[in-house]
């Protein structure tokens, strides 16, 4: 069985975009964790998470974002989610994480967030 989550990094001047493709669960969360753990992440002002092709997230996936949020904030790196499918956003909502993280509808809004 192939990996169920693909993370593609798209670096720009001050922004790093991570494009997520697949399902983020207790099996695949390590792929994202490895990406967010890279020291070079902290040189950017913003990390944008493109969720258009993220079709599922479990608590293991949420946990990866939660575990890196403080470290990013301490380094003045903003974490912004965009293009999130309704069913994925709903999982953030169930726990109230939508009010603690920056989630915007479009890429354009993510760039100005």
């Amino acid at each position: 069985m192939g990996p169920i989550m693909k993370v593609t990094a798209q670096p720009a001047d001050t922004t790093l975009t991570l494009v997520l493709d697949g399902e983020l669960d207790a099996s695949s969360a390590v792929v994202l964790d490895t990406e967010l753990n890279k020291p070079e992440l902290l040189k950017y002002k913003k990390v944008m998470i493109d969720c258009q092709k993220l079709s599922y997230i479990s608590s293991a996936g949420l946990g990866v974002f939660i575990s890196h949020l403080q470290r990013l904030q301490d380094s003045n790196v903003k974490l912004v989610f965009y293009n999130m499918q309704e069913k994925v956003f709903n999982v953030f909502e169930i726990l109230g994480l939508d009010s603690l993280m920056t989630i915007v509808p479009t890429e354009q809004e993510a760039q100005t967030a």
Partner: protein, 138 residues
């Protein structure tokens, strides 16, 4: 309407579990949002059984049974491992601000399950742990 599946205790099988639950509920005409919520609840319980109760021992296995009678959905997940795993069905609300400050990864799964399902209970049957979840759909 009912269906069952047996999986070994490897986290790579979580995808198979989700596909099974999705297929069952979509055949029952569930909405996209509700199907995803129930899939998530089952995924969380199964992941706990695989990782915490069985330490990812692929020689151990779990049985899942889904039953739909009218709008009532009943799900039974039986762990055939030898260690009893009996968390309480009601999970306290996680302090997410504290989790963020602590950089904590876990501790949210059962909170999701108890908020999604109408009923969550763990009990012992024939020296095995069984989790029963139920929900009225629609």
């Amino acid at each position: 309407m009912q269906d069952r599946i047996r999986i070994s205790c490897s986290r790579e099988n979580l995808q198979q579990v989700r596909d099974f639950v999705r297929g069952f509920l979509l055949a029952a005409q569930g909405t996209d949002l509700q199907v995803n919520q129930v899939v998530l609840a089952v995924d969380e319980v199964v992941a706990n059984f695989i990782i915490h109760a069985n330490q990812e021992d692929a020689s151990q296995f779990l049985d899942l049974l889904l039953k739909l009678a009218g709008m009532r959905l009943d799900i039974e997940i039986e762990d055939h491992g030898s260690t009893l795993f009996l968390p309480t069905g009601t999970a306290p609300a996680p302090d997410l601000r504290a989790y963020i400050q602590q950089g904590r990864k876990g501790g949210m799964g059962m909170a999701l399950v108890s908020r999604i399902m109408d009923q969550v209970e763990f009990f012992e049957r024939n020296s095995h742990t069984v989790c029963h979840l139920s929900k009225m759909l629609g």
